[in-house]
């Protein structure tokens, strides 16, 4: 198989694009795709400081690599989830990545935060699904770090597969409010929120993995131990079968939703969030979901200690 651009021997075949690339051309094309998404969706400019949420996985490190290489002013944000050796290894990967490239990195350690908020401990105390507690806490600390650090924009490594799986989940349950908010750029709806962007939203998981491999990025290949049985993985598996039968399905699903579907779910009068009475961060009730979670952890731990 030959490279579509230069006719050298290809290393990667992208069935969705009906194209194949050698290493040099793939890296170039990948970066162009990301650059095009940033420009087309007005995600951020070279004058803005970008906080990049990094987990140690291929997507977020590939994103940070591309943005830094394209000359954007980036700072990494790693939230340590306290998931045993998995989190330890992820942290090591992120630190090594930042150090090797001389990039600034901020770290939040959930275990050392508040009453001790490591994901397994919070899930056990509240009997919530680990992924639900994890997502809620990560979102909170992303928002806090971006606001307190004075960053106008927060970038995450969500890729096409993530977006297609999320869209499928939202459609299957007809979550109108979630569908309305599913977009590559989420403008701030409160002075303490910053713009949230997904520069990889049109590149597949396969492409980010190939990019990370070709760039020699040492990422964590293992799955999060809490991910087994996660609904999102079931949606991804279903979409993988559709994609194998009809290449380009995921791309069409997401692009067409954004082009002609999403607008139908946007409510005309949406109430902006208010300030949480406890932490001051945006909230749709008097207390935000994060502070309610912390309350619940403290209450249940106190009850367990006195029993």
């Amino acid at each position: 198989m030959k490279c579509t651009r230069c006719r050298a021997k290809a290393e990667v075949h992208l069935r969705a694009h009906n194209a194949a690339f050698c290493r040099a051309c793939f890296v170039l094309v990948f970066r162009r795709q990301v650059e095009r998404a940033i420009a087309a969706e007005h995600m951020f400019t070279r004058e803005e400081r970008v906080l990049v949420a990094v987990s140690g996985g291929k997507d977020s490190l590939a994103l940070w690599d591309v943005l830094a290489d394209l000359g954007y002013d980036t700072t990494g944000l790693y939230v340590g989830l306290g998931i045993g050796t998995y989190s330890d290894r992820s942290h090591e990967k992120v630190v090594a990545f930042a150090r090797a490239r001389g990039l600034p990195l901020r770290v939040v350690d959930l275990d050392a935060t508040g009453p001790g908020l490591a994901v397994p401990a919070v899930a056990a105390a509240t009997r919530r699904a680990a992924c639900a507690a994890c997502g809620l806490m990560k979102r909170h600390y992303f928002d806090v770090a971006a606001f307190e650090g004075g960053f106008p924009v927060l970038a995450t490594g969500h890729n096409l597969d993530d977006e297609a799986a999320r869209l499928l989940g939202n459609v299957l349950a007809w979550r109108r409010d979630h569908l309305a908010r599913q977009q590559p750029v989420l403008p701030p709806t409160h002075p303490r929120f910053v713009r949230k962007v997904k520069p990889l939203y049109l590149v597949s998981e396969y492409e980010t993995a190939v990019y990370a491999f070709m760039r020699g990025i040492d990422y964590i290949v293992e799955e999060c131990p809490n991910a087994a049985g996660a609904t999102q993985l079931a949606y991804k598996a279903a979409l993988d079968r559709l994609e194998a039968a009809s290449p380009g399905t995921k791309l069409r699903f997401v692009k067409e939703f954004l082009r002609s579907g999403r607008q139908a779910f946007v409510a005309p009068e949406e109430q902006p969030p208010q300030a949480c009475v406890r932490c001051g961060m945006p909230s749709y009730g008097s207390t935000c979901a994060f502070c309610r979670l912390v309350d619940e952890v403290e209450r249940r731990r106190a009850a367990a200690a006195s029993a």
Partner: protein, 66 residues
């Protein structure tokens, strides 16, 4: 050939020359969901792999949040 599967941390031994596409099908892996790596090079599905090859088949699914 020896095929190391990641992240499953499992190694399987297979006999017989075959294409990468055939290898993935034999392993029950859909195209576009794993990279096939020989040394430090990625292989496309039309490439042939030999009896004495040592390969890594690395799934590309997201690993969670760290």
């Amino acid at each position: 050939m020896r095929v190391h599967l990641r992240p499953q941390q499992r190694t399987v031994e297979l006999t017989g020359r075959r294409s990468v596409g055939r290898l993935l099908a034999d392993l029950g892996i859909l195209p576009g969901t794993a990279m096939v790596i020989r040394g430090d090079v990625l292989l496309t599905e039309g490439e042939m792999v030999e009896e004495d090859d040592e390969l890594e088949v690395r799934a590309v699914i997201s690993g969670g949040g760290g």
